[in-house]
């Protein structure tokens, strides 16, 4: 069960260049909007033809630019969950599912079974427009599984849903993925979604794919600026190696780092929740003035300006428990610190 993708596609000024392999796993494709995630899925599904390259699933060649192979989507057995689900509006839920069953002699049996698995019996004869968002997603999943796919492509599966529905449906989708034997590609711009659901992650940055890593590596050692930003790191600032120390010119700071500092680093990442108020003997103490505070539901976000900052340099963002900020006396000037092992070194 392996998928290998290595393709290039020009669309106007945009150039997509992706290269990755997936081995019987849930592979996340993480990227900002407009970075080519959907285009990549459409190339795998055969809806868009790449300009060059090779796509292969379990030895079956989907596309090969040199050998002029371009299998039609019907022969690829790809289960594509579209963002808006793409249920056929003129058909009932049961007809939608039934239309996808390939073995015509087993239609009724397959449809009945899927309707019950996805708790859709009560709405079997309803039109998609009459369903709730959650029911629409279940109907779309049931229809995809009716077509007996060998790989699942999920395109931002929760983008069309209200956030309170998301948690429930994420569990249901996880059940489906557990029982599915084959590769799954999960496209998302949400790092938490990817962290919870994917075995490995491929970062897509402005059409270029980076190496495939585990979610842990992505969050604790993202390696590149774009990966750090996509992993949710709020403070990314230009930095230089200074022997085993790190210089941050725009804040006029030198920081200790627990990791070996290579000479090729160009920036560092400091996660907002890794920054805390400094004790007297802390390493990496940074005296700052408070620019602004914002209240989250359970936390307070504090925007800081390190005292030695050059004009127009970026601010430093920290996020702490609300009680800690409420209990604090001096809310104008603070000294914060970051542990040496929490500094992310970025190329």
């Amino acid at each position: 069960m392996s998928l290998s993708v290595d393709i290039k596609k020009h669309l106007g000024d945009f150039c997509l260049s992706v290269n990755f392999k997936a081995e019987n796993e849930v592979l996340g494709l993480l990227g900002a909007s407009g970075c080519g995630k959907s285009v990549t899925l459409r190339c795998i599904a055969g809806i868009i033809k790449p300009d060059e390259g090779h796509i292969e699933l379990d030895g079956k060649v989907f596309f090969d630019g040199e050998k002029k192979i371009h299998l039609p989507p019907q022969e690829r057995r790809v289960g594509y969950l579209f963002q808006q689900y793409a249920l056929f509006p003129n058909m009932s839920v049961a007809q939608n599912i039934s239309s996808a069953v390939r073995d015509k002699s087993r239609k009724a049996e397959v449809v009945a079974q899927l309707l019950s698995t996805y708790q859709l019996q009560n709405v079997a004869s309803s039109r998609p427009a009459q369903l709730s968002g959650g029911q629409q997603q279940r109907a779309a999943l049931a229809r995809i599984l009716a077509s007996d796919p060998e790989i699942l492509l999920l395109d931002e599966p929760f983008s069309a849903l209200d956030s309170y529905l998301k948690a429930q449906l994420e569990q249901e989708l996880a059940d489906t993925l557990d029982s599915f034997r084959g590769n799954v590609m999960w496209v998302s711009h949400d790092r938490d979604e990817v962290f919870r659901n994917c075995n490995r992650v491929c970062i897509l940055d402005d059409g270029k794919s980076q190496s495939v890593v585990t979610p842990n590596d992505l969050f604790y050692d993202p390696k590149t600026v774009s990966a750090a930003k996509l992993s949710g790191c709020k403070n990314v600032v230009a930095a230089l190696a200074d022997n085993s120390l790190i210089k941050v010119p725009c804040w006029n700071l030198t920081l200790n780092c627990a990791h070996p500092v290579g000479s090729d680093i160009s920036a560092i990442g400091l996660r907002a929740h890794h920054i805390g108020f400094a004790d007297n003997n802390d390493e990496n103490a940074i005296p700052c003035s408070v620019v602004r505070t914002m209240d989250n539901v359970f936390s307070t976000i504090i925007i800081l300006r390190p005292l030695g900052s050059l004009p127009n340099s970026p601010t430093l963002r920290m996020e702490i428990k609300k009680e800690l900020w409420t209990a604090r006396q001096d809310k104008k000037n603070v000294t914060v610190s970051i542990a040496p092992q929490n500094i992310l070194l970025l190329r």
Binding site: P73, F88, P89, S99, A100, R143
Partner: protein, 225 residues
Amino acid sequence: MDLYPLYNSLRIAAISTVVIFFVGIFAAYYIAKTPRLIKGVLDVLLTLPLVLPPTVVGYLLLRLLGPKHMIGMWFLEHFDLRLVMTWWSAIFASVVVALPLMYRTARGAFESFDETLADAGYTLGLSGTYVFWRIRMPYCRQGILAGTVLSFARALGEYGATSMIAGYTPGRTATISTTVYQLWRTGDDALAFRWVLINIAISAVVLLAINLLEKKQRSAKGVVA
């Protein structure tokens, strides 16, 4: 009262509508997919009869189908068949004149179609034919029905090109519109008036049908929203 013109008009309009239905949908579907330059040229060609005087269309048809011209001569030589001055010659005229209505409404309907539905169908293993007839056409049903009814109404009311290519022979090529003109010319005002009333009645029914279709379309969209 000889009802032949009514019968003749209805069969010409009905046959024309069937031809227009398929040609119009085919043209709307495939022209939308062609490169921009070709699309622009074909679009102008197919819409031109909508704005040209029907006499100009009739003249051009005669230059193509007349017994001394290109297509007409070829049919006369090989099949001993005259393409003009028969009852069905009027079909050529009404197809050309009414086709733009079908083509443009169908194209508008197809352009509003959500292509991801077709993509979803293909990835589920559905054939192009299935997707076209079972997903795309039902989605665009209201627009295509409206175009069909409009084309039927226009074909029924065709006069200029028809009178040139089919002429007026009572009991053979006479249609309602050519009969009204002939009766008025010969001073049979009372009979002309009867045919005028018949024509107005048919057209009113057709327009009523279009309005009902549009209302249905609006309420159907309301449900979705």
